[in-house]
């Protein structure tokens, strides 16, 4: 624990020192280098702590006589390891990427502060310090979102983010208020028993609103695809890959730890929201042609997948099915780890593209595989991982989630038995749509012919950025072929939260994973990887040995009518058009309208597509309208005479006295 505190203090000092040295030429490598070292130490410390006995500590900070409580158990250690792994690779990436930064003074002070804030949230164990750390994390990331403040879109994103973050914190504040009970016991230890259990449902809803708005659950996700892409790419990776996981941590800490035994219908609520989040997230990603915003929408989808696991775990736990709960919970935590790895990798890739071409719009890119071969390969690994393709890591956690869904017929309640297969179907649909979306993202950005001059003259990114991406791609593969080790590593955290664990996987032959029994299901990423590699090599070797190995280059065939302009290629929008026709007419109320000129008129035909963002139009737009309407009406109150104000004061006094009179 001492190491963690010194690391956090070091990050804070770094953050305070940053404005002073930001003008130096080597400021950015120094700060990111120091952040890399600190995060790496914190990562190793946390990773080794998973499974050790919990440690507690009270520091004389914060509120007088209460102090700040800290608690370091396996769950916290797991989330700290995820956080600092992301922090370390983001710092490594930023040593190179930070050189392109136009205003380093606006990024450097906030970056270590953001890392420190996320570490603090996980360690704190009383409501006051938790909310303080939570707000610190939100505000420092807000500073990073608006770092390029001359772009009006970023300012708008920052504003919406701030509003949503305040709303989330307000909900968490109320939740903690209810948890604390009438004695006002703010330490987590005392909260286990302090709250009135009849209020548990209300607390659950408040936490879903508070943590869910930060994590990006539908319909609270609207800020996420605006704010995450607005920040510099290494920060986007942290916000999308890590900060959403801190929100998942907050949810787990309150609902699984502090709230006591769950009711079965909590699972129904959670699974319903999670299924909607998963499908809506991936569909919105498919409609997007801004590369970073597409990735942010995929975060929404993956948060949905994590919450499907958590919802199943709650449902199983409510019915005392400990092993099934452990399986679902492990699946969720493994997906937390996996998603943080491949999402960071993908954001780094998009950052490399952005710095090489200055473009985030895929429709202005193309052909980058020739100009940036290594970035293209690494992005491809991330794309395959997030699309849940074996033998990479995304598949393992989704496979475990499917196995957990298959255990749900044993649940006694009808509501759960209907919602669990629905969530499974949503997961299957989302996995297939995610693969479609990443064929689009990779294909339009990196393959084909360059659509603009800037895409044609792109240069491979620097070696720091590349090494960060290589590290993450290697982790994607390792977690995919040796998932048993990760499952065993997670199991102490499952024991703490659901009082059960999956069978030990480490000693199984060939690193197979067997969630329940071998006759039920098993998966071996290592062998699948070796099989594919061996058969591909065998096929290639046999063909080159026994058949033709000659090769000629010629113009593209394209059925005899090759086009000279790259504009005839499929774009992101045209690629997604069939899927838009299938799903979009319902989900986005999409309408297509073709304007054909009259016969004989040689002007161009036009295709117009109209789409609606339903959560935004149904909830946020009326809300914003209502607030502005109300404030305009109330504005008149600012221009009254002194007599009128005095009469208001008098009326208020009378009203309050009446209230007291009636009350007593």
């Amino acid at each position: 624990m001492a190491i963690s505190f010194s690391g956090i203090v070091a990050l804070l000092i770094l953050s305070l020192a940053a404005p002073a040295i930001a003008k130096w030429r080597i400021a950015s490598p120094t700060i990111y280098g120091a952040a890399l070292v600190i995060s790496a130490v914190l990562f190793v410390n946390a990773a080794l702590r998973v499974g050790s006995p919990a440690a507690d500590c009270v520091l004389p900070l914060g509120l007088p006589w209460l102090g700040a409580h800290f608690h370091f158990d396996s769950l916290a250690a797991f989330f700290l390891a995820v956080t600092n792994l992301g922090g370390a690779v983001a710092s490594l990436y930023a040593i190179g990427y930070g050189r392109h930064e136009s205003a380093p003074g606006r990024v450097l002070p906030f970056f270590p502060a953001f890392l420190a804030g996320m570490n603090l949230v996980v360690l704190t164990a009383d409501a006051f310090s938790f909310l303080l750390a939570w707000e610190f994390m939100s505000l420092s990331s807000w500073g990073l979102v608006v770092s390029h403040h001359r772009n009006s879109d970023n300012v708008r994103a920052g504003y919406i983010y701030l509003v949503m973050a305040s709303f989330g914190t307000l909900c968490l504040l109320l939740a903690f208020g209810l948890l604390a009970g009438s004695d006002g016991s703010y330490a987590f230890d005392a909260m286990h028993s302090a709250h009135d259990h009849t209020l548990a449902a209300l607390i659950l809803v408040l936490v879903l609103l508070g943590a869910g708005s930060k994590a990006g659950l539908v319909p609270l996700h609207v800020w996420l695809p605006l704010a995450h892409p607005a920040a510099p790419s290494h920060v986007s990776a942290l916000m999308s890959g890590i900060m959403t996981k801190i929100a998942v941590y907050a949810f787990i800490r309150v609902v699984f730890d502090l709230l006591g035994p769950p009711d079965w219908w909590w699972g129904v609520l959670l699974l319903g929201i999670a299924a909607a989040t998963t499908v809506l997230g991936v569909l919105q990603a498919l409609m997007e042609h801004d590369l970073k915003r597409l990735l942010a929408y995929h975060t929404v989808e993956n948060i949905g997948i994590i919450f499907i696991g958590l919802g199943l775990a709650l449902a199983f736990r409510a019915n005392g099915m400990v092993f099934a709960a452990a399986l679902a919970f492990t699946a969720a935590l493994l997906h937390v780890l996996n998603h943080s790895v491949f999402k960071s990798l993908l954001f780094f890739g998009s950052g490399a593209v952005l710095s090489a071409t200055g473009e985030r719009d895929m429709e202005r890119l193309g052909g980058l595989i020739h100009r940036m071969p290594q970035t293209a390969f690494l992005f491809l690994v991330g794309a395959a991982a997030i699309s849940a393709l074996p033998p990479l890591n995304g598949f393992v956690s989704e496979w475990l989630t499917f196995q957990a869904v298959l255990l749900s017929p044993a649940l006694p309640q009808w509501g759960l038995r209907l919602i669990a297969p629905t969530a499974g179907a949503a997961l299957a649909l989302a996995a297939a749509l995610a693969a479609a979306c990443f064929v689009k993202a990779f294909g339009v950005t990196f393959l084909g012919r360059p659509r603009t001059e800037r895409a044609n003259t792109a240069q491979e990114t620097d070696r720091f950025s590349r090494s960060a991406m290589i590290a993450l791609a290697a982790i994607c593969l390792l977690l995919g072929i040796l998932p048993g080790l990760a499952i065993d590593w997670i199991s102490p955290a499952t024991v703490e939260m659901v009082h059960g664990q999956m069978p030990v996987q480490r000693f199984l032959p060939w690193q197979t994973i067997i969630p329940i029994a071998q006759s039920r299901s098993s998966y071996n990423g290592l062998l699948v990887f070796l099989f594919i590699a061996a058969s591909a090599c065998l096929a290639a070797a046999a063909i080159h040995r026994f058949a033709s190995h000659r090769l000629r280059r010629a113009p593209a065939w394209d059925c005899g009518t090759p086009s000279t302009t790259p504009l005839t290629q499929y774009t992101a929008s045209s690629f997604a058009q069939p899927i838009r026709r299938v799903f979009g007419s319902v989900v986005f109320r999409a309408r297509e309208c073709v304007h054909m000129p009259a016969p004989g008129n040689t002007s161009a035909a036009r295709l117009e597509v109209e789409m609606h963002d339903i959560p935004w139009e149904a909830i946020y737009a009326p809300l914003a309208y209502g607030v502005s309407f109300l404030s305009e009406r109330l504005n008149a109150l600012q221009f009254l005479s002194i007599r009128q104000y005095l009469s208001f004061v008098f009326l208020a006094l009378v009203f309050l006295l009446l209230v007291i009179a009636i009350w007593s």
Partner: protein
């Protein structure tokens, strides 16, 4: 000794699927020709086509990348591994525990992922149209397939294909509504995944509705041979899958005497010989759909699979 025999059975299985795949395609084509009152090419024509393609040079588009050249091998390898994991004549294969049915579907998903990327690589509009439609079809077919797997897994209590096949053979599963729904869903998915009529027409070019052929339009020579062979393997895989789950006759277990394998292989061959004319008959009697009718077709498969799963959540005996 045990290990040697298991290895031998697994090896025979891998070689068998590879050797039989072009033959199956040849038989389906021959039957189709017969139903259409044509002479048709010989059943060994697919082997000749493959040999011819392997001998030819590869003509590569000028701006094709390494991905375009690697994709045929990746597609072939994933499909071959997936096909080798589905029991054809023997259950309890040595490597069958390394991937269950969900993983097999995901392996086919990997193959499709790389093929769709290869379609986009050269940057032609035909490649784009093929890839775009392929992923649209897959985005419905894959969840439908997973739902079918759920139905089977809930009946057998396992996603392990060997266990499912054993349950279907030895346990008294009987006739069930959910199994019927799963069978229909599986067949609809198989038709779509293999690009057969009414979804796609494997024997045409230059049709506005073509999907698979548009995607692989730029391929030639040995690369095309790999992709064709992968497509044939996939067709065989779906035949084996349907056979081992819905007609699990003649499958041998891991502890059988050697002479049983002969009859098992014969049983497998007879399943293929019955299935191929049925597919040809289905293809001859249906008309090709417009591409935007396909979602309705696959949506039906998805709903049937989902309904089958839901029925099992309602009652284990349905």
């Amino acid at each position: 000794m045990e290990l040697m025999r298991d290895l031998a059975v697994q090896g025979v299985q891998m070689a068998l699927v590879l050797a039989l795949a072009p033959l199956l395609t040849g038989i389906v084509r021959k039957c189709r020709a017969h139903f259409q009152r044509r002479q048709g090419a010989s059943v060994v024509q697919p082997y000749r086509d493959l040999a011819r393609l392997l001998r030819k040079d590869v003509v590569l588009a000028e701006n094709a990348s390494w991905l375009f050249r690697a994709a045929p091998y990746l597609v072939f390898a994933s499909t071959w591994v997936a096909a080798a994991l589905v029991p054809t004549f023997a259950v309890g294969l040595m490597f069958s525990w390394s991937a269950d049915l969900i993983a097999i579907i995901a392996l086919l998903g990997s193959a499709r992922f790389f093929l769709a990327l290869a379609g986009l690589d050269v940057g032609t509009s035909f490649g784009g149209i093929g890839s775009s439609r392929e992923v649209m079809i897959a985005s419905l077919a894959e969840p439908a397939m997973i739902m079918t797997v759920f139905t089977l897994a809930l009946i057998a209590g396992s996603t392990q294909l060997s266990t499912i096949a054993e349950t279907m053979t030895f346990a008294h599963v009987g006739l069930r509504v959910s199994l019927g729904l799963a069978l229909v869903a599986l067949i609809l998915v198989a038709v779509a995944e293999n690009g057969r009529i009414p979804i796609d027409n494997p024997s045409t070019h230059l049709e506005l509705t073509m999907v698979h052929e548009a995607m692989v339009l730029e391929y030639s020579g040995r690369h095309l041979a790999m992709i064709e062979l992968a497509a044939q393997l996939k067709l065989l895989l779906y035949f084996s899958l349907t056979g081992c789950v819905f007609a699990p006759f003649g499958l041998v277990g891991p502890e059988s005497p050697p002479w049983v394998y002969g009859t098992a292989i014969a049983a497998y061959a007879s399943k293929l010989a019955i299935g191929a004319p049925l597919l040809a008959l289905f293809e001859t009697t249906t008309a090709k759909m417009r591409v935007f009718r396909v979602p309705g077709f696959l949506g039906a498969a998805l709903m049937l699979g989902f309904l089958g799963t839901l029925l099992l959540f309602v009652s284990r005996s349905l």
